[in-house]
Every structure is written in structure tokens, then in C-alpha cells.
Symmetry: none
Subunit: 376 residues, 2 copies
DNA sequence: GTATGCCGTGAATCAGGAG
DNA sequence: CCTCCTGATTCACGGCATA
């Protein structure tokens, strides 16, 4: 499903939209037309430098990231690799394009410095605070409970895309901060291979990509991921009506990603459009319900008493009877009331039963109890 | 109050403990004896565009940054500055010493990369998540709601100090994570100048230093801060019974810090003492249990879960199911595990009840403490 | 069905002393 | 430097079996 609007006359060859390309990402990026991509999301090897085995206190062995693609012989080799793939990525970006890179303390400082050296302009560093990280089993360090993302425009003068209101709406009316609390990818979202083991050691959660793509792209944009893995970037891009290009060296990952993408459905246009939303007071943002996939964009909500309906949108706002806004605003408008607690007012349908949103909020609160109330 | 234990015979000059030194931190650090400091906490200038007072190695002043070439050249100057002060800091550290550096996305990637280049070994990067950050007024970026700290040992082989139990206790019994939620410094803690304005633009909260110093130093350690500012590092070090050395170029800040430190009182020893890790306790060989007659040769031991049995021998070894060896080796062999703590694994029977061996070890330890109490 | 509990597992630079 | 040996150490969540 290649889109004609992206096949510009000045392109050497058309962009291979919504495809997964096999091979070395530097070579492939250099073969694509310059200045043709809106956003790059990159999850490069972290260069973990693990030594021996690690066992949990119950003597079970930790299944570590020991794959060959994460092995580098020195910082110099890793730096050269970083320099090359970032230069290729920068060439591909449109002048107003931007890049996201995710990493840990093993590699992120080297990536960040090289981004600056090449003239990228850092907008924010963003902390993914994991609600359920793996503990430090030996008690020798702090629990490594976060990863770092860098969001950078192609240059200081780029007119980068930033959907301030959409992110604010996802955060229920409060400005989105630079620290994002999201669970790691497990459960049904975690892809398995034929043997039932994890298909990829470092699959990222869709909620993370949801926030990145909603916040820094527009519908129809081209999003490229040079380290595609199991295709989370492509899956979320497709759901949100963006075009993707995936590059992945390992055939096994490409196959998993292709199967995954064939099952992904685009949300409808109403759900994808982002809007303005105003301030709300409640602590748990309704947007998290969307990002975590507890409700899908486009799903219908029903009012208390079943007199009204509304549709969920990708940025965590509702649209119902020509009224747009937060779950509280739309509820209040439809009831002609000065205010409304959307959490108890709105219900969703599961197996024929109507369930109030507040159930979902309670679930999120239970998950987050490890974070917020503690004097951490 | 200079402590004699730190005045080693091989020192060129004694350490100026609990003083604030005026001048350039690189020169001053290079004048102090090498290998004499336990911990360095550094809050370097974040970004040369804002400071404008950075100089090239030849002492020429760096002009304002407005194009890509100057931007790159200013990064080079900042990198040279970082290289120099980190090298001076590294020379000062004891072999088992460590460093903390705090920064933002403007500078932290360059600092982190240089730390790795110089052979420091990163233990964790830590996110200070501000519970009350300044909003992004223009709505052009995410609210910059965090700062990044890097905790690194002097080298990969350093036996760094990490008070795991103390931090776990601070966190209500759950191991401390790498993301710390702490409010910014304001209210009564925020120091004011004579005009009533804030005395320093980036005063750090004492809560942050409290966690750093409790977690990665011992009482009596020497903590050096080469960018002392208003002396938060010194104030918390003094409260917690550590010695400090402050270096600060600006006289106005030195005066504020000196006044502040004169008012700080040390907590009493009981308050400063923290939970000791089990591995810091003296080692008791299992043979002592036999020698003291607490168990008799030939007595039977039972595994956790009662699935296995073994018999005690006169030399303090066990024999069970044709396996001979220490309490740990036999336990590991019977469980098919890579390792096993025999003290908690094996139980003996008294009056029908199963009692773990560890009870006997605790008795021996209690008796020995009357003889040779260990300093905490 | 519901409540309870056990088991598995996640990007991890995860030991230290004696001989 | 090496080897050997002791023995300390985990949080959140999903899935499944049991009661």
C-alpha cells in the first residue's frame, strides 16, 4: 500500500512504504532518497558488556541479552557504528524531521554526544520509568528501573512536529512531562516463537511508541525504524495512520514482525484526529487507559443509564454527539451538568456487560502503587 | 577538625578537611594528594551557552554560539573542560572511590561519555524526578521534569561503597530504584542573599545529597565537591558525620556556604548509623558448631522442604546420598543448583521441631561479640 | 465462577575473601 | 596473578493450578 503523495518527482526511487527491508540498516538507509522521512525511531544495540551468568536468589538463571548483535569489541568500535548509522539516518530525514533514540547508561551517553556532534538539536531527554523492572538480584546496585530516550530535531532550525495539545490530552489536561511511567512489554503483547520463548529479547511496549508517534508525528507521516526487531514501531504507526519503513538484519525477527503487522488494523479517522482538551483534576490520566491498550481508539463508551454514547480517540479524548473533550467534559456536556466524573459516568462493554471506566483506573492504580505513594 | 587517619605518611600535604577552598577547581584538585578522597559529588556548569564564561585551553574566551560551526567548536571546548576536571577528580580518588555527576541533556551525554573514556565504571544512572518542576511555558517541548545523575566507580575493579540495606530501608523495605522522586529546593531550605533573592541559581535539595551520601559513603569518609556553590554537599556530609572538602571559584557563594555550614549540626552517632549488610558480619565456619558440641557427629540434618537428609561428620563436612562436602556443597548437589546457602538450607530436629542451622551461627556470633566487637 | 497461591520471568555491565 | 569456596540475594505481574 504505497502512497503516491510520498513518491515525489525528485526522488531517485520511490520510498518502500509499509515494508520491512532485510539487510544492514546503514547500507539500506544510504540507498533511500535523502530528505524523505518525517520521523526515525531507533532502538540500537545497547552494548551491554555482560560477563558471566546471573542467578536469581531462587537459583533460576536470568535469560540475558547475549545475542551476537549486541557484542562490540570496544567503545571505539561502538562509536564508529553509532556515527555511521546516525549519519545515514540524518541524511534520510526531511529538514523538519526528528529522531528518537532509546538506550541505557551503557550506550546512551555516547549516542547523545554523537547526536550533538552531528548537529541534531536535542528537544528533550525522556525517561521511561518502568513500573515493573527486573530487580537487582545481588543487591550490588540500584534497581535499574528506567531507560532513556532522546528526542532531537534534525537541526536547531527545524520546525519539528510537536502535538502539545494531544500529549496534554493524553495526560488528562496536564502538560506531558519528560518522565513516562509505563510497564514493560509482557503478557499477551509479548511475542513468542514456535517454542513458546520470547521472540525477541528486548521488545518495546506499544504504549511507549504510542506516545512517541502521537506526540511527534502527524497522520500520513513516514516513520522509519532502522532496528525494527519485532516491529513495534510499525505496528503502532499503522494503527495510528502513519506509514512505516522497517529495516531489520535478522530474518527471524522480520518474519515475526511481518506476521504481527498483517494482523494490525488501522484505527478509524475520527479516533486518530487529535483535539484540544482542557484541564482536569484527576490523578490517573485517562490516556493511560488508551496507551496501555485497555481500551482501543474507536471503541464506544456508554453513559450511566445508557442514554448517550461516545467514541474513544487516540489522544485520550472522547467524541460524542459533536462534543469533543475529556471523559469528564463530554459527560458534563451531554448531561447539561456543570461537571461530571467521567470515570464513574462512562462504561465500556465487555462480553455483554457494561463496566465503568473506574475499574480500569483501579487497575492502573494498583500497578502504580509501587511508584507514587512511596517516598521514593 | 582534621582527622589523623586521613593524614597518611605518604601524603605531600595534609587534606584540608571541612574547609571551603577558593579558586579554580582543576588547579586546586591537582595540588591535593592523589588517592585521598572517598567520594566526589560534582554539579558542573551545564551548558556553555548559558554560562558564557568558559575559556579555551589557551584562555581565549568562547564567543556566543549561533551557527553550526561554532556549536561544534563550543562542544569541543566544553569537552576539553570536562576532560580536565574529570582527570583531576580521578587522580584524587582512592582506588575504591566513586564519583557522582549531575546534569541535564545539555551536558550529561558528554560527561557520561568522557567518564567512560577515562575508565570510570558506571554503576547506575539515576533520574531525579522533580515532583514540582517548572512548566514549559511556551508549550514547545515536554516539561523538563528531571535531571540525570551518573554514579561511577573509579574503575571496573573498585570495591565501591554501596549501603544496600540503608537505601532499602529508606524506601520502606523495597530495594531502591534508579528513579528518585524528590521536590526541588525551595521554601526555607532555599538560601537567599541580602536582597532576598535566591543566592544561587541551581541550589540542589538536601534530600538528594542525603540519599547519595547515605547510599555510597561510610561515616568518616572524605567527600569532595569541586563545584561547591552554596555547599549542599558539605552541609549534608557534616550532618551525616562525613568530612567534606569544598572548592568554589565565586567568593559570594563561598561566603553563603561558610555561613550555612557554621550553622549545620552533626547528627548523633545513633542517628548516623545504618543497618549493616549481612555479608559484613564475621564468617563462622560450620566446623565450630561441631567443635562447640552444638551438633554431634552422626546427627542427621534435613533439607528445606524435608526432601533430603544428610549426616554430620566430625570434621564439619556432611555426607548425604553418596555426596560428601561442605554444608553448601552438599545442599547444592542435592538440589542440582549452582549454589546453596547451607546455613539456611539445612535443619536439625529438637523436640520434634525443625530448626535451621543459622540459629546456631547466630548464637556463636552473639557470644563472640562480647570478645571482639566489630566497629560498625 | 472465585479466591488463593505457586511458578515463571524481564536490556543486568550483579561477590569477595582465602590461599 | 590465579583458583577455590563460602554464602548473600528479588519486585511486579501474568498464567495456571488448586481449593
Amino acid at each position: 500500500m504505497t502512497k503516491t503523495k510520498d513518491q515525489r518527482a525528485d526522488s531517485v526511487c520511490p520510498l518502500p512504504l509499509n515494508q520491512i527491508l532485510g539487510g544492514d540498516c546503514i547500507q539500506i538507509m544510504n540507498s533511500l532518497p535523502a530528505g524523505s522521512v518525517d520521523l526515525i525511531f531507533a532502538d540500537p544495540p545497547y552494548n551491554l558488556q555482560l560477563k558471566g551468568d546471573l542467578h536469581r536468589p531462587d537459583n533460576s538463571r536470568v535469560d540475558a541479552v547475549d545475542d551476537h548483535w549486541d557484542q562490540f569489541s570496544s567503545f571505539a568500535v561502538y562509536d564508529a557504528f553509532t556515527r555511521d548509522w546516525l549519519a545515514a539516518a540524518r541524511r534520510l530525514l526531511k529538514p523538519d524531521g526528528a529522531i528518537w533514540v532509546i538506550g541505557s547508561y551503557h550506550n546512551i551517553f555516547r549516542v547523545g554526544a554523537e547526536l550533538q556532534n552531528q548537529g541534531f538539536w536535542i528537544m528533550n531527554d525522556v525517561i521511561w520509568r518502568k513500573s515493573n523492572p527486573m530487580p537487582n538480584f545481588r543487591g550490588k546496585r540500584l534497581t535499574n528501573a528506567h531507560e532513556t530516550l532522546i528526542w532531537a530535531a534534525k537541526s536547531e532550525t527545524s520546525k519539528y512536529t510537536f502535538n502539545y495539545e494531544a500529549l496534554k490530552s493524553l495526560n488528562e489536561g496536564i502538560q506531558m512531562r519528560s518522565d513516562w511511567v509505563l510497564p514493560i512489554c509482557n503478557g499477551g503483547e509479548r511475542l513468542k516463537d514456535a517454542a513458546g520463548d520470547k521472540a525477541h529479547p528486548t521488545q518495546k511496549p506499544e504504549s511507549l511508541l504510542h506516545r512517541v508517534i502521537v506526540g511527534t508525528t502527524s497522520p500520513g507521516d513516514v516513520v522509519l525504524d532502522p532496528f525494527f526487531g519485532t516491529g513495534t514501531t510499525g505496528a503502532v504507526a499503522k494503527m495510528l495512520g502513519r506509514d512505516y519503513i522497517g529495516i531489520e538484519r535478522e530474518e527471524a525477527y522480520r518474519e515475526v514482525a511481518a506476521r504481527r503487522l498483517s494482523r494490525v488494523r488501522r484505527f478509524d479517522a475520527d479516533a486518530i484526529a487529535t483535539t484540544r482538551a482542557k484541564r482536569a483534576e484527576i490523578r490517573i490520566p485517562f490516556g493511560q487507559v488508551i496507551e496501555r491498550g485497555m481500551l482501543r481508539p474507536g471503541e464506544e463508551l456508554f453513559s450511566l443509564g445508557n442514554r448517550h454514547k461516545a467514541k474513544v480517540r487516540a489522544d485520550g479524548s472522547l467524541i460524542g454527539n459533536d462534543v469533543k473533550g475529556s471523559i469528564h467534559q463530554v459527560g458534563a456536556a451531554l448531561e447539561g451538568a456543570p461537571s461530571c466524573n467521567g470515570w464513574t459516568y462512562w462504561h465500556f462493554r465487555r462480553e455483554g456487560k457494561m463496566i465503568p471506566l473506574d475499574i480500569l483506573r483501579q487497575q492502573i492504580r494498583a500497578e502504580m502503587e509501587g511508584d507514587a505513594p512511596r517516598p521514593n
